[in-house]
Amino acid sequence: MSLTEKTLTQVRDQLRSGDTTSVALTEAILSRIDAVDGDVKSYVRTTDELALEQAKAADERIARGESSPMLGIPVGIKDLICADGVETTAGSKILEGFKPPYNAFVTEKLKAAGAVIVGMTNTDEFGMGSSTEHSAYQTTSNPWDLTRVPGGSSGGSAAAVASGMAYASLGTDTGGSVRTPASFCNIVGIRPTYGRVSRWGVIAYASSLDQIGTFGRTVQDAAAMLGTVAGHDPRDSTSLQRPVPDYEAALTGDIKGLKVGIPKQYFIDGMDADTEAAVRAAIDKLADLGAEIIEIDLNMADYALATYYLIATSEASSNLARYDGVRYGPRGSGRDVTETTMKTRAKFGDEVKNRIMLGTFALSSGYYDAYYGKALKARTLIIRDFEKAFEQVDVIATPTAPDTAFKIGDKTTDPLEMYLSDIYTVSLNLSAGCGLSVPCGFDRDNMPIGLQLMGNTLQEELILNTAFAYEQATDWHKQRPSL
């Protein structure tokens, strides 16, 4: 098995035993990128020199006897996450050439831990999309079938990990942007509780829904990455002041007596038959492992998508108002302030414009109560729905997406069609819980299927351990795309 085919945990052992070095791992990853990223297009830019410097520094730390969980491990970060002096564009032309003079909290954490940042991964513009087709720079392909999407918006991060171009990566999940691509690419993606990871330095899409998540080829890999970037940050007022548990240590594989809830409302008409079969089989497997399966209600499920798109676009319409070309980023050229601003903002892509318009409308005087105001009320009901469910069960299991990865171009003409791929993931973002996607099978076209496990507030250890138990009992995660 080549170095790049191994898991994070495997190469970490090799680093610790002196079998390999961070420089060797980094060089292997960079060669892999050279070899296959021309097809996959997961990175919008790599930072080879910086990465090799970081790798050398990591090797020195290892030589001194240090052994933090991510030390010397090459990783990718989503192009929404600021890195000091490195071009960070949010997949948008409006930030082309923008080099932030600061690191995001998570970038700081990764650097301090000695992880090696290989590059910035592709994203739908400002995280607005479910396929990465809305990136202004490139469309990422699914490593399992290059004619299909990897999911989005963290599609670049997922495709990179799935095809051996990083051992782990960071994404952001506003409505499913970590879990959906994890599902489409046959890897693990966790979206922790809102506030678990600081959003400081992460370019905002919808502030009350955005949360940083991690990808790995295994549950433990994703857990190691999460443990490194989680934690309180006084610069983010929504950051939780709770100690970070040792997520890797929580992986015992024992789920006997665990109550797993299956929401009726998530198994609906129009759901792909292969997906349903795989997910039902996965639930049976959890039962075999000693879990108690309980059918539950999430009655507000039907309203989640509408609620999500009203809140997300409303917040986005305000968050994106700062991109006017006055202080940073490219500036259009016009005769006066209005024309200059209009020409600058013409650099936004169509989907971003759609969402700004929708959000602006939803917040407008005379419409606020009917749209944004009502969405806030619905959100409260959705939160209650989950609270009630978690009185009954420990974990909720559902499909991550209603179908497997679709063909590039299939859903770009009808935004609503695209929005529907988030139908199982958005509820979690509206609630106060955490969730992940773990590989649970393949469809008739050999495209990966994901099982979504959702937990209550700060129950990351519980959902990770549930996924770990399932993963240990199956070998879906061992399948690799043939690239």
């Binding site: 600061y102 995001a104 009350s208 006084p234 700062r322 202080r327 005769r335 006066d336 606020y368 944004y372």
Partner: protein
């Protein structure tokens, strides 16, 4: 205004002089003195991924002003985004408090010309952030300075209880006095750190209708505010008398033409699309904190005046004059605490120090006389060591040399003669040496007392204790008549 009366509400925007900005650690500088854009950070420039954190000092200052305005201080505080576009607004929105401001339902009593007091109700005071500053330098070029962007602002909104420009001035003056007393703002209006907006309408006397109002923005001085109000009152009366109607408009004030002009008509009014800022969870100000701030409140002008006229027995005039400026009032209080007799201290300040301060353009704290120094000087007069006229000369000396009153009196030998025997001896000599006057006096020319007094004082080189000299001279002259 015979037939009509004015209905005016004032909004006062005051910067709060905290060390750092409302939502970041960026320092606050004097925006007139500092180089443009020398006090900015990624947050005050609205850079991507930057998040706000509320400044504790700003909350405390806002509470103090709220308390001084007799407002309820609200425990539950929330922040909203006010969305609008302008190049001096870095994020494309201003963070403000709409639904749950820090202070509500207060009042301020103002003194009217006729000696009566009137209560102006205060609707609310809320925290927000200031914008940057645009300067139009000609040839289609505008420059933006973001030093001011993000500086904490307190907006104090009155009910439409004000009936004239004079009342508006009295109210605004008193609010400024409170801002100075509480240390929230220096009150230097030429620096733009206090700005006024007036909502103005008129109605027929005896009615209580609220007619259409206009809003005059960006009034930067008391004069601009009163002039704009008076201009609008005349203008509205003229329009009504001509059978016209008032349009709800936002107006500016042209300093040169001394006229208001239309900035925005009702149709062009902004839709600010207020919504709760998702980056800032509601802020809970606990009762203990409120109590602590209240306990540490400075004594406010009205309370001071009450104490001066009551406990200290000053005249209402003196009390008001002393309390007008908090530095003077604090200086006076310090002198009284140091043992100075209140009335005498007040007289010295009002009759002597004010003239000196005016002439040297110095504040009371900048002149070379401490409260204790004045008490010492008064003590020397009271003890009869020097008389009042000498004391005034000594004061001039103190201010020039910085020496204490005692040092000066000793060095210059200014101590007056208070020795009965020595004075009596001189009186006797004078009566003896002026035989003609002595005889005339005995013959009934009692006016000559002045001559004897002058001669005695001349012999004493002005250092005679006038009270004692008078007393002894009267006795000697009486003896003369009885001879």
């Amino acid at each position: 205004m015979s037939k009509y009366e004015a209905v005016i509400g004032l909004e006062i925007h005051a910067e709060m002089l905290t060390e750092s900005k409302m939502f970041s650690g960026c320092r606050v500088v004097d925006s007139v003195e500092a180089d443009p854009n020398s006090a900015v950070d990624p947050l005050s420039l609205g850079m991507p991924g930057m998040l706000p954190v509320v400044n504790r000092d700003a909350i405390e200052m806002a509470m103090k002003v709220g308390m001084a305005l007799n407002c309820d201080i609200n425990q539950f505080n929330a922040f909203e985004r006010k969305n609008y576009f302008y190049p001096d607004l870095p994020k494309g929105y201003q963070i403000t408090q709409l639904e749950n401001p820090i202070a509500t339902e207060g009042h301020l009593d103002i003194e009217l010309e006729d000696g009566t007091t009137k209560r102006i109700r205060v609707t609310r005071a809320h925290m927000e952030e200031d914008t940057g500053k645009l300067s139009h330098v000609g040839k289609g070029v505008s420059l933006v300075d973001y030093n001011r962007a993000g500086v904490p602002l307190l907006e104090i909104v009155s009910e439409p209880d004000i009936r004239s420009a004079e009342e508006a001035l009295a109210y605004a003056t008193k609010v400024r006095q409170i801002l100075r007393y509480t240390g929230v703002n220096t009150g230097d209006m030429e620096k733009g750190i206090i700005r006024f907006e007036a909502n103005i309408s008129i109605r027929e006397k005896g009615t209580d209708v609220l007619n259409t109002r206009v809003e005059v923005k960006n009034l930067n001085s008391f004069r601009a505010m009163t002039d704009a109000i008076n201009y609008q009152l005349k203008e509205q009366e003229r329009i009504y008398e001509a059978g016209g109607s008032i349009d709800q408009e936002t107006l500016g004030w042209d300093e040169d033409k001394r006229k208001t002009y239309t900035q925005r008509s009702k149709e062009d009014a902004h839709d600010y699309r207020y919504f709760p800022d998702p980056d800032l969870p509601p802020l809970f100000v606990d009762q203990e904190w409120i109590d602590r701030v209240r306990a540490a409140m400075v004594e406010l002008p009205d309370a001071k005046i009450g104490r001066y006229t009551g406990e200290l027995g000053l005249s209402a005039y003196d009390a008001n004059v002393l309390a007008e400026d908090h530095t003077v009032a604090e200086w006076f209080d310090a002198a009284v605490t140091a043992g100075g007799p209140a009335k005498k201290v007040a007289n010295w300040i009002i009759n002597n120090l004010f003239a000196i301060m005016n002439e040297s353009k110095q504040s009371i704290n900048a002149i070379q006389l401490s409260p204790a120094g004045l008490v010492e000087l008064i003590g020397l007069v009271d003890a009869g060591t020097i008389n009042n006229n000498t004391a005034k000369d000594v004061l001039v000396d103190i201010l020039e040399s910085g020496k204490s009153a005692k040092e000066i009196v000793d060095e210059k030998g200014l101590a007056q003669v208070s020795d009965d025997g020595a004075i009596l001896e001189i009186i006797q000599q004078v009566i003896e040496n002026n035989a003609k006057e002595r005889e005339d006096y005995k013959a009934g020319k009692v006016k000559l007392r002045g001559f004897f007094m002058g001669s005695v004082m001349r012999e004493l080189k002005g250092k005679g204790n006038p009270g004692l000299v008078n007393q002894l001279l009267d006795k000697a002259l009486a003896d003369l008549l009885n001879e």
